[in-house]
Amino acid sequence: MKIKMKYFGMIAESLGKEEETLDLDIKMVSDLSDYFLSEFSRLEEMNFQISVNLNIVPAQFELSENDEVALLPAFAGG
């Protein structure tokens, strides 16, 4: 399924990109986490949350075609 990925902060810096469209054979947010952790091992050292269509979601969240998914490192606003 096609997913629009967005990367921010230290994750964007580490991956060397801010967005891309991925086509992955996955179902849950946990599958996506596993994919990234295996592809980009440096992610393991970073605390990150995942948002789907602007909301933080748990690992059990089910993804849909064309979801906008972001990998969000620690917040630093304020």
Partner: protein, 146 residues
């Protein structure tokens, strides 16, 4: 009903003049008895002989604005507020410059003060804003809220 779209994220530092204008605009609000203002200022922290000269702020802008809207609605629901304004900087903000402006107004003091505190904590915890601390030797590190 058309809901006025307010943008919280703003490019560059927040100037004392903007803050003064915002205060001045509220002199017509004669039901207001109390204003409470929180300002976040970039600190020149030192770590390992390096000093922060600026923080470069980025955000997941669409999500951040949505979160700011939720915080705003929740603050109006929780506290007896008359006005509420929030500004957060994007881009490079130098040490000593202001990057966050939270401005609450109410009839009585306790509402404005409690609301400001609530809003600042919510912003720190829930809004996807990222900060790159730039050191005087041109190196950098990513800021993490505590």
């Amino acid at each position: 009903m058309v809901k006025k779209k307010k943008s919280v994220l703003t490019k560059g530092a927040i100037s004392p003049e903007i803050i003064a204008q915002s205060i001045a605009h509220h002199s017509v609000g004669t039901d207001i008895g109390a204003h409470d203002i929180f300002l976040g200022q970039v600190r020149a922290d030192t770590a390992n002989d390096k000093t922060v000269t600026a923080i470069e702020y980025t955000a997941y802008e669409e999500m951040a604005e949505a979160k700011f809207s939720q915080i705003r609605e929740s603050a109006f629901a929780k506290f007896d507020l008359i006005c509420l304004h929030i500004l957060h900087s994007l881009g490079k903000i130098n040490a000593g410059e202001i990057c966050l402006f939270v401005f609450t107004s109410s009839a009585h003091r306790t509402d404005a003060m409690a609301a400001t505190r609530y809003i600042v904590e919510e912003i720190k915890a829930d809004v996807p804003v990222f900060g790159k601390e730039i050191f005087d030797n041109k190196s950098h590190q990513w800021k993490v809220n505590k």
